[in-house]
Every structure is written in C-alpha cells, then in structure tokens.
Amino acid sequence: MNDMTKIERTVDMQTNKISAKNVQVHYGDTHAIKDVNVEIQDKTVTSFIGPSGCGKSTFLRCLNRMNDTIDICRVQGDILLDGEDIYDKRVDPVQLRAKVGMVFQKPNPFPKSIYDNIAYGPRIHGLARNKAELDEIVEKSLRRGAIWDEVKDRLHAPGTGLSGGQQQRLCIARAVATEPEVLLMDEPCSALDPIATAQVEELIDELREKFAVVIVTHSMQQAARVSQKTAFFHMGNLVEYDDTTKIFTNPEDSRTEAYITGRIG
C-alpha cells in the first residue's frame, strides 16, 4: 500500500479539481460571498483562513451544495467539478456529495456502532456487493482514518462512546469510506484538544495522497502546518489565494498581512 501511495504522490500536482467562477452567495438579504474565483487542485490540501464571519465556511458548504438544506440561501456563479457545473439542474446533490465528502466542526458520529457509522455511506451508495466487501471497506477506511488500531476490537461498540479526537477521526474515516474525490473539512479540529489535533493534522497530510482536501481553519498555524495552498477570505471577498508559504511569508495584500500578523481578526 505504501508503494502505491508513493507512486500516486508523483502524479501531476497541478490538476484543477474544482474551479469556482464569480460565485455570489446571498443569505436572505445578506450578501455573504462576493464574487469569489478560486481553483482548487487535486491531491493538495487547500486551507481557507480568515476572521469569523468572513464567509469561508459558507463558501466551503457551496462546494458540495450543503447550503441546499437552508431555504434562504441563494448561490450564483459557476462551480465546476472536473469541468461539470455542480449547480446544473441535472445534477443530483446526493450524487455530488458522494464525490465531495464533508467533515464537520463538531464530531458528529451517528448513534450507531462504529462499524455501522463507517458502513453507512457505502451502504446507501451501494458500494459493497456483500458482507465481506463491506467489512473490507470498513477496515480500509478505519485504517485511512488512522483509528483502526484503536477500535478494531470494539467495532460494534457505539461510536458516541469514543473520545473527541477519536470521534473526529471516525467521522473522517466515515467520509473517506464513500470513496470521495474531494474532502471538505469545516474547522475539524476546533473542538479537539492539542494532542487530538496533532493526530488529525497528521491524518490530513496523509489523506492528501488520495484526495483533494479543503480545510477551513481558524488557526493560521494549522493552515501553515497542513496546507500547500491557502486562501484568505475577508468580509465575503477572497482577498488572496496562493501557495501557503507565500501567503505566510510574503503576502501581497495588506489585509492578508494585517491578518497573519494579528492586527485584524
């Protein structure tokens, strides 16, 4: 398995997975996202940073149409996944979300067993032909979630009984189990303690080998540690989007500089 990932790592880093053009989002009368353009690359961790309420989470939720569940939310502009407009009338958001998975701020395991938590996605999408295949998917996903060793002896214990960090890795494993192409993470470590955070961050780095990962974070240090690309949002605008090293060492926009040096935020 290790060999496989090594090879995959050499795949062209520059493929665009998602491209957003002129995206506008309105919440009722509030203009939440103003004209955002961004290209998200495959096999890369992209982080969205910015002060609270800057629209980074809203934008993230546009990428797998989670905003559809909110009645008053309107999205304009184009968001293309592999060149296909995800807001096209023909697109079934359910199919889209199978390809663009999501991990949430607070760990939200279902009140079911660990096994059933992971197996939920594969079951609804019909990814396994039989029990053996499902077992295999569950094990593989838990391994990818870096939690297999901790839970392999109690797969049928409830997922809600795990610690916070374990729960979040379980949720990541659950998202991975549906074989998504993009993984969206909405502040995945904000509810975790430092040790659990470190474990999850390590995991994110590993996930980059297979997926495009987009992570929203409050912590600039975290963005610097895990991501290759960083986008800075401010008041609904995408202020700057570049390599992470560039953003943190030599930002072009004065607002970005003000934010990373702690003057706004």
């Binding site: 797998n64 989670m66 359910v94 199919q95 998975g101 939200n108 279902f110 939920y120 949720c171 659950r174």
Partner: protein, 488 residues
C-alpha cells in the same frame, strides 16, 4: 355553632387581627414606620395568619373526622342480626343519619317539642309521618333500633359540635393573642408571613400527592372488600364475564375485558402510529414553514375535540359505514355497528395528533449535526430520516407510543359508545367486544347495590387499569427522560 358560622367568626377575628396587629406595630414605634423591621401590613397579616390558619385546619379536620367517629360509635348500637353484610349496615346507617337530620328539622320547625325527644319512641309516635311533614322522606318505617341510634347520633353530634366550637375558638384566640403580644418593632413579621405563605404553597403542591393517595386508597379499600366477596383467582384468570348470572353463579373474569381493551388499543395504534409518525416526519423534515403553519394546528384540532364527539362519531357514522362494507350486505363479517374495528379506528384518529406532536418534538430534538453528517456523505433525505434521525429518535418515539397506548387503554367514551357491551374472547375485529373502562362505567352506573360484588368489581377493574396505565406511563417517562439526557 355550625361549622360555617364558626368559619365566619374566625374570619372576622382574622380581619380584626389585621387591623389591631398593624396598629400595635405602628404604635410601638410612635408611627415612624421606618423603624419597623417589616412593612406595617406584614404585622397585620402575621396576626390574622396565626388567628386563622391553625383554627381553620383544626376545624376542617374536625368536620371530616367527627362523623366517622360518631358513625363508628352509633353503628355499634345496631344489633348484628338486623343486617347481613357491610352494605346492609351502610344502608341502616344512612337511615339513622336521615332520621337524626329529620329530628333536627322537626325541632327547628316546631313540629316536635325539644322535651318530647326523651320520651320519643316508635310505639308512641309515627316517626315516618312526623318527618314527612318537615320534608324528610323516608323509604320505610323507622324501627326502634334505628330511632334510638338516631337519638344517640344526634346527641353525640351535638356534643361534638360544642366541643369543636370551644376548641376552635380557643385555638383562634390563642393564635391571635400570641401574635398580638409578640408584635413589636423588631419582630421579623415579613419573614414569618412569608414562611406562612410558603407553607400554603407547599400545601397546594401536595395536593398532587393527596390526589394520588386518594386514588390509590379508594381503589385499594374497595378492591379489598371486593376480593372479600369474590375469589381473586377467578377474577384474574376467569375466562367469562357474566355478572348477571343467576343464584350466585356470576362470573367476573377480567380476561375477556382485558382482551377487548388490548385488541381495540392495537387497532387504534395500528392507525395512529404510522399516520402520526409519517405526519410528524413530513412536518419536521420536509414541509416548508407555510405548510407546517397550516397543517400542524389543523391536525392538533383533532386532539382538542372531546371524546364524547368521537364516541358519537363511532356510533353513528363509522359503525354504519363499516357495516355497509363488512356487514350482512357486504362481506358478512359484522353483525352490528359496534365492534372492535369501529372503536379502534375512531380511537386511532383521536390519537393521530397525540403521536404526531410528541414525535415531532422528539424528532426536532435530534441535533442538526446528525442530519448534516448524513447529507455530507451523500445520503438522500429519506435515507437520513430512516437510518439516522429515526434510529436516533427511537427511544423517544417508543416512549411516545407507550404514552399513546396508555391513552388508548384508558379511553372510555369511544369504547362505551363504539365497542359494544358483550365481553368476548374472539379474534374477529368486526365483532362487538367490551373493555375494562366500559365495564367500569356499566357496573357503577347500573342499578346494582353499591356493596355487591357486581358494583365493587368496578374498583378492581379500576385498579387494574390504574396499574396498567401507571406502568406504561412510568416506563414511557423514563425512556423519554433518558432520551432527552442523551442530547443535552
């Protein structure tokens, strides 16, 4: 003095106490109210409170207990041979009471001289005719025993009333004086009054306990006296219910009634649970704000309609409608309009809003994060509902269904009017059956003697009903509480 007049006296004393107590407090500080510990009114209230509350409590207790004691003493005078059971004695004692009241009335209206009481006897006076002239009608002629018991009853009651008047007035006066002499600028009158008020509040809250106690005691006493006349085993395991049996061959087996109750409840739940649950799911997960604002209150109208309306609906609309389809003209499964199906169906309609609003609350308590997690994995809305929301809400929903079941078991009017009167152990839902509640009504509203097993069995039925519903309620509350804790 009569109790009501006594009460009036105490009230007057309390009102007086307020004025005097307030005055004394103010005088103790030469009218400078700033030097009082509490506001002047509190001193007044303190005096009224001490004059009023203990005296009234004693008065109430006395009024309740005295008749019991007098009754006990007088009933010993009735020769044991003149009645055969407790019921017989009760009848005689109520005659005694009526004669005693009649004598009072006769003296008050001047139809009888006070002095004549001593020599009064059935041999020299027609008591029934005498009392008839003062408006007290008796069912039969008065026997010597009853008359002497009535005289004794009168005498004891009068003595008791005298003692009561004295005792209550002494207590009221003592309370009044004690509070009055303690009234002084430094007395913490407000704290005393507030403590008194708090006692009243606690008393009000305790009524819930007293009610339960009243229910339990009235059920237990009568049930015990029922089992004194009728073997418990036959009641609990008897397969026939026919109280009208001749010559003591009555069968009072509860099983056919329980079966009817359960069968009807099952039909009701089979209607209410799917409809109510799906309605709740649709309203909480799918419906827009507008649909919800219209449909939810409309469904809840069903819950506000009195059960008598449902009963009549079952009897005159649903029953005949079912007969059209399943009766002799149609499938010929049904004899009359009253049947398990009729009652169950209508009861199910009644329970729809009950199930739906309880489930709605419970489904809404499932955190949005659960749904987000599921949608984020690409689940459709129905998959989310069926595999995440409902399993998460399951304990709560089970609790709601148990509460609905307890409602169904305890429902009376619909089964009285829609289910029929024949106790039957049958599987055919189109046959008339009867239930525990319906039989409680028929046994207690019929003309059976109150002390006979036919009437007393209603209490044993009530006991069964109470235990059943209590068990279901407690179980449901425990489950729901546990469920709530899970998401708090």
């Amino acid at each position: 003095m009569s109790a009501s007049f006594l009460l009036l006296t105490i009230l007057t004393l309390a009102a007086l106490g307020f004025v005097i107590g307030r005055g004394r407090a103010l005088r103790s500080v030469q009218g400078d109210r700033r030097r009082l510990h509490s506001l002047p009114n509190y001193y007044g209230f303190n005096v009224s409170m001490l004059a009023f509350v203990p005296a009234v409590l004693v008065l109430v207790l006395w009024v309740v207990i005295q008749p019991l004691m007098v009754n006990g003493a007088v009933s010993a005078m009735i020769p044991a041979g003149s009645y055969d059971d407790a019921g017989g004695l009760n009848l005689i004692m109520s005659d005694v009471g009526r004669v005693a009241n009649g004598l009072d009335a006769a003296i008050a209206q001047g139809a009888l001289e006070h002095a004549a009481l001593k020599t009064l006897s059935t041999s020299n006076t027609d008591i029934r005719a005498l009392l008839g002239t003062v408006g007290v009608a008796l069912g039969s002629d008065v026997s010597e025993d009853v008359l002497s018991a009535a005289l004794k009853f009168r005498e004891k009651t009068l003595t008791g009333n005298w003692i009561m008047t004295v005792v209550v007035l002494v207590i009221a006066g003592a309370g009044f004086l004690a509070a009055f002499f303690k009234t002084h600028a430094d007395l913490r009158a407000r704290n005393l009054v507030e403590r008194g008020v708090q006692m009243v509040l606690i008393g009000a809250a305790s009524i819930a306990i007293l009610t339960t106690l009243g229910i339990v005691l009235s059920l237990i006493f009568n049930t015990v006296s029922f089992f004194g006349m009728f073997p418990m085993g036959d009641f609990l395991f008897g397969l026939t219910w026919s109280p009208e049996g001749r010559g003591g061959s009555e069968h009072l087996g509860i099983l056919p009634l329980l079966w009817g109750t359960i069968y009807i409840s099952i039909v009701a739940l089979a209607v209410a649970v799917p409809v109510g649950l799906f309605a709740a799911v649709y309203l909480s997960e799918y419906a827009g704000a507008k649909t919800r604002a219209v449909a939810k209150p409309l469904l809840e109208v069903l819950a506000g309609i009195p059960t008598i309306v449902y009963g009549l609906f079952a009897l005159t609309i649903v029953g005949p409608m079912l007969v059209d389809v399943f009766g002799a003209e149609g499938l010929n499964w049904m004899q009359g309009a009253r049947s398990v199906m009729t009652a169950g169906l209508v009861m199910g309609i009644m329970l729809i809003p009950f199930v739906s609003s309880l489930s709605d609350d419970i489904i809404n308590a499932v955190p949005q994060a659960m749904r987000d997690g599921s949608y984020g994995l690409g689940a459709t809305q129905s998959e989310t509902v069926r595999q995440v929301v409902l399993p998460a809400a399951l304990p709560g929903i089970v609790g709601a269904i148990l509460l609905a079941a307890s409602r169904a078991i305890g429902e009376t009017m619909i089964v009285v009017m829609g289910a029929g009167a024949a106790a039957r152990l049958s599987m055919n839902p189109f046959e008339a059956m009867t239930t525990v509640t319906a039989k409680i009504v028929s046994q207690l509203t019929g003309d059976a003697d109150f002390a006979s097993p036919e009437a007393l069995v209603a209490f044993a039925l009530g006991m069964t009903l109470f235990i059943l519903t209590l068990g279901l309620n407690v179980l449901a509350l425990l489950i729901v509480r546990k469920y709530r804790e899970q998401y708090e």
